[in-house]
């Protein structure tokens, strides 16, 4: 089953189980159906529970919060995470704070699904991974599953949770396949996933970067380096324990994000791991993510903007063998990037 199908199945099954669940978002009921993730849901559950929205991100986010306050369980979709910048006030000032500021007397069971774009010249405003902004805010949960299995389980978990959850998908993960159980299951918040065990270096990936880390891991193993690959999965709460345990073992940490590094999730992971290990316990580390610029559209520049399996492998290699010459790897483009022909 693909990632798209997993998201769709989780939604459909939860909607069937709980009639408080509904889906609202621009284009959720059109023939593209949010890249297929909402395809057919309007037909299956009716247009009252699956409906299109006007272009009013702040307002409709407030609407979702209000419906959640009233006891419904909205899933609000955004085809690009960049558009959440229009809804920051409702997300940060209202959704995240309502329960606490009203003394625990309300609940905001709200899922905000947002897609990180990449490739085919998405450019400055259709490519941002803004998760660290949401991680910064107490009262929100932030997850970014990288596998179809986690996508389904975490979406179900997010729908059932009584708090606002920012559920981050990545455009280039949509075609990813994995075994996904047909039955309903949940994946808990706050649990990272070890995808490959290793001893020499810990690679922590976020969202699509996980896929690239796995590729780098294979390259590294060909060069005799055993990398442990961890999918962060849940960004807030963050599973610092699993990450720290791995680094305690490997002594080296490479965090690869689908976002900028400055004040990013990768800064937090480094700091949190260092904290968990005790400031005085040394480990070599590096952060990778977007280049510290705006995302350009020109293909060669766009390519340089992102970490890739080669740059990841090279960085990991440097961490493990600082004195050795740089790892030489051929730079095949990852297939989902090479094959992606947009436009969106």
């Amino acid at each position: 089953m693909t990632y798209v199908q997993a998201v769709r199945e989780a939604t459909a099954q939860e909607m069937a189980r709980d009639d408080r669940v509904f889906v609202m978002g621009q284009g959720v009921d059109d023939f593209k159906g949010m890249y297929g993730t909402t395809a057919g849901l309007a037909e299956q559950f009716g247009r009252e529970r699956v409906f299109d929205l006007p272009l009013s991100e702040e307002g409709t986010t407030g609407v979702a919060v209000g419906a959640a306050l009233a006891g419904l369980r909205p899933i609000h979709t955004h085809i690009r995470m960049d558009f959440l910048l229009l809804a920051m006030n409702q997300i940060v000032n209202i959704a995240a704070k309502s329960r606490y500021m009203f003394g625990g007397r309300v609940r905001v069971p709200l899922v905000i699904r947002a897609v990180i774009g990449r490739g085919w010249g998405q450019g400055a405003q259709h490519s941002q991974g803004l998760h660290s902004m949401f991680m910064h805010v107490p009262g929100l949960r932030v997850v970014a599953p990288a596998t179809p299995y986690d996508a389904k389980g975490l979406l179900i978990q997010s729908i059932r949770d009584d708090n606002p959850v920012i559920f981050i998908e990545h455009r280039l993960l949509y075609g990813r396949q994995s075994h996904v159980p047909e039955e309903l299951y949940t994946v808990p918040f706050g649990r990272a996933r070890i995808l490959a065990a290793g001893d020499d270096v810990t690679l922590v990936g976020i969202s699509h970067a996980v896929v690239e880390c796995l590729r780098a891991q294979r390259t590294l193993s060909q060069h005799g380096i055993s990398a442990e690959v961890i999918d962060a999965v849940s960004l807030s709460p963050l599973d610092t324990e699993t990450l720290a345990a791995s680094v305690r073992k490997t002594g080296r940490l490479l965090v690869v994000d689908t976002a900028w590094t400055f004040c990013g999730a990768s800064a937090e992971i480094v700091a949190a791991v260092a904290e968990a290990l005790g400031g005085g316990v040394p480990f070599a580390f590096q952060r990778m993510g977007f280049a510290p610029v705006v995302c350009p559209t020109s293909k060669p520049l766009e390519k340089l903007f992102y970490p890739n399996p080669q740059t990841i492998a090279r960085a990991a290699h440097r961490l493990v063998r600082p004195k050795a010459p740089d790892l030489q790897v051929d730079s095949a483009e990852s297939p989902e990037i090479a094959e992606f022909k947009g436009p969106f």
Binding site: F22, E48, R49, L53, P54, S56, E58, G59, T60, T61, G62, V63, A64, V65, G66, A67, A68, L69, A70, G71, L72, P74, N89, Q90, N93, I94, S98, R99, Y100, M101, F102, G103, G104, R105, V106, R107, V108, P109, P138, G139, R141, D161, D162, N163
Partner: protein, 312 residues
């Protein structure tokens, strides 16, 4: 009966806020208060027309509609005092007052920011086919925020059972409406978005009540587009805090005087006989005394309360 209810509500809100004015200088209330003195009739006229199961949303200027809708008085005063017995255990203060048990869904210190939630709440009512309605109170300043228009459009698009009450006191802090809006006709804006809209030029509580009753009945029955009522009114006190600010220069005491001379509390009071009035006043005074005493005697929240109720 209506006169009595109006008077009790108006008198109660006025006196609660007057007590706040009296006690604020003692620094026991350590959070900002935005008083509604002079504007109470808007909340009372509207909320008298509602059922307990109806829901209101509002702003940081929260006391009048909170009380008019039936919010708990003791819990409110204790909340302003930051006490553990407050409706939000001291986490809300005056700017985030809410009492969901009585349909008061809470306030926000960010202008206009509760408007879309009110719409969302009404959406839920409609989806569940309830015959409840939502009322959302906001100021004239809120009608400059983009989210106001987004919210009106959504409410109208889905024909939601919601009544928008704009308390137009013609100022946002110290800025007059004319310096902030090119066209001061708020009703016209609402109509352009697909709502029904009407303006009350005077603070006539009977008229407001009658109109609200009519509108709310239609909204319950799903027979009408959402409605906006613009109520002209006037804030007698400074924007925030217990004082007056006519010396500041941005408005004159004379401007206020006209409104004070038409004080709804006096008008309504004059329709009651002295005995009835006295009885109402005494019971309210008693209730207020008791509420403040309760707040003052209540303990502060324990330190570990800092960490509770972030997540459900």
């Amino acid at each position: 009966m209506l006169d009595r209810n109006f008077y009790r509500q108006l008198y109660r809100i006025r006196r609660v806020e007057e007590e706040l004015v009296r006690l604020y200088p003692t620094d026991q209330i350590t959070s900002p208060i935005h008083l509604s003195i002079g504007q109470e009739a808007v909340s009372v006229g509207v909320c008298e027309a509602l059922r307990p199961s109806d829901v209101v949303f509002g702003t940081y200027r929260s006391h009048a509609y909170y009380l008019a809708k039936g919010g708990d008085l003791r819990g409110m005063i204790a909340e302003l005092y930051g006490k553990a017995t407050g409706v939000a255990q001291g986490k809300a203060g005056s700017m985030h007052l809410a009492d969901p048990d009585h349909g008061v869904m809470g306030a926000s210190a960010v202008v206009a920011s509760t408007i879309p939630q009110a719409v969302g709440y009404a959406l839920a009512m409609k989806m569940r086919r309830e015959d409840r309605v939502v009322v959302v109170f906001f100021g004239d300043g809120a009608t400059e925020e983009g989210v106001f228009y987004e919210s009106l459009n959504f409410a109208a698009l889905r024909s939601l059972p919601i009544l928008f009450i704009c308390e137009n006191n013609s100022y946002a802090i110290h800025s007059p409406l004319s310096s902030r809006q090119a066209s001061p006709d708020i009703c016209r804006k609402a109509e352009a978005m697909g709502l029904l809209a009407e303006r009350l030029e005077t603070l006539d509580i009977y008229e407001l009540y009658a109109r609200t009753c009519r509108r709310v009945t239609e909204l319950r029955a799903g027979r009408t587009a959402p409605v906006l009522i613009e109520c002209l009114c006037y804030r007698w006190k400074e924007h925030v805090g217990p004082g007056e600010d006519f010396a500041a220069g941005y408005r004159s005491a004379g401007e206020c005087r006209a409104w004070q001379q038409a004080d709804v509390l006096v008008t309504v009071g004059s329709r009651l006989n002295a005995a009835v009035r006295q009885e109402i006043e005494q019971s309210v005074e008693e209730e207020i005394r008791e509420a403040f005493a309760f707040a003052q005697c209540s303990p502060f929240p324990a330190g570990n309360e800092l960490y509770t109720d972030l997540y459900a």
